[in-house]
Amino acid sequence: MNNFESKLKHALQAENSVPDADTFISGLHTERKSRQSARRQFYNGIAAGMFILSLGLFTASQLGTDSAELMVYDTYEILDEDDRTEEEFLTEMAVYFLEESDDIWATVAFLDETEFLESLSEENL
């Protein structure tokens, strides 16, 4: 065993040149400062991310309702708006037909055929 161990140690005897201490120390401090700066940038990035996230959460919390409710609410608003526009359009068209027609009863019959009066009365209900 001892012979084997001495062979092991002999195999490892390397003649290496130790790097110049002053150059090594200078490189060490340069690397340290560079890593310190990278670490600082990383923490700043995290802090900025946290700030943006908290700002986003705060803004969302100020809306009072969740996003799903907001979407449904907006959809109803749009539908109501559409109904009002259609009603105004139909009323204006009916008045126009009545004013422009020579035979008012024929116009009423026409409006009756198109079921305009029924739809107008349903909306008024």
Binding site: M1, F4, E5, K7, L8, K9, H10, A11, L12, Q13, A14, N16, S17, V18, P19, A21, F24, I25, G27, L28, E31, R32, R35
Partner: protein, 177 residues
């Protein structure tokens, strides 16, 4: 240069804000640390990188050093951990074929050397962790078993047993090749 001061005195001065004391500590321990790494890496550039990483860790850690053990014990432990992570990384790089295989005989600079160092350290790297650590400290740093056991937080007899088994295993592996 404060070469006449002890490690403890230099660390205390460094903790008080004297950066030059840290530099003196590096100057004092660089040859031994670099020598240990170069024996294992067989590559001076890798060894220098590992030495730099160890001293960078020391720069951070020594600010909170509590003097519960000798600085050399602390440094050897850091060196051993660094080598273990180097071996782990190298194993992964080997699996991923990121390193070129060295030319045969590249490390064999002596006609008297029976094995190439590369083969030897490949074999050492395959040993179980405790055995590997004991072998590295015993063969590459020539530390006494008492100090090895203190660095590895184990008993002296456990260190000796691990060394015995490690050498036995290496003998089988290397002599069968």
């Amino acid at each position: 240069m404060n070469s006449d001061k002890t490690d403890i005195e230099l660390i205390q001065e460094f903790q008080d804000g004297n950066e030059e004391s840290f530099n003196d500590l590096v100057r004092r321990h660089l040859p031994n640390t670099f020598g240990f790494f170069v024996k294992i890496c067989q590559n001076e550039m890798d060894a220098e990188d590992l030495a730099q990483d160890v001293f960078l860790k020391m720069h951070r850690a020594l600010k909170n050093f509590r003097f519960q053990s000798a600085f050399t014990t602390y440094l050897y432990r850091a060196n051993t951990n660094m080598v273990n992570s180097y071996i782990r990384n190298k194993r992964w790089r080997g699996l991923l074929n990121l390193d070129d295989t060295p030319e045969a005989g590249e490390w064999d600079t002596s006609h008297e050397t029976d094995w190439r160092r590369q083969e030897l350290w490949d074999a050492v790297a395959k040993l179980p962790k405790l055995q590997r650590n004991v072998v590295m400290m015993r063969i590459a740093q020539e530390l006494p078993f008492k100090e090895i056991s203190s660095i590895l937080n184990t008993t002296e007899s456990s260190a000796k047993t691990s060394y015995h088994y490690a050498v036995k295993t290496l003998k089988i592996w290397l002599e069968n090749e």
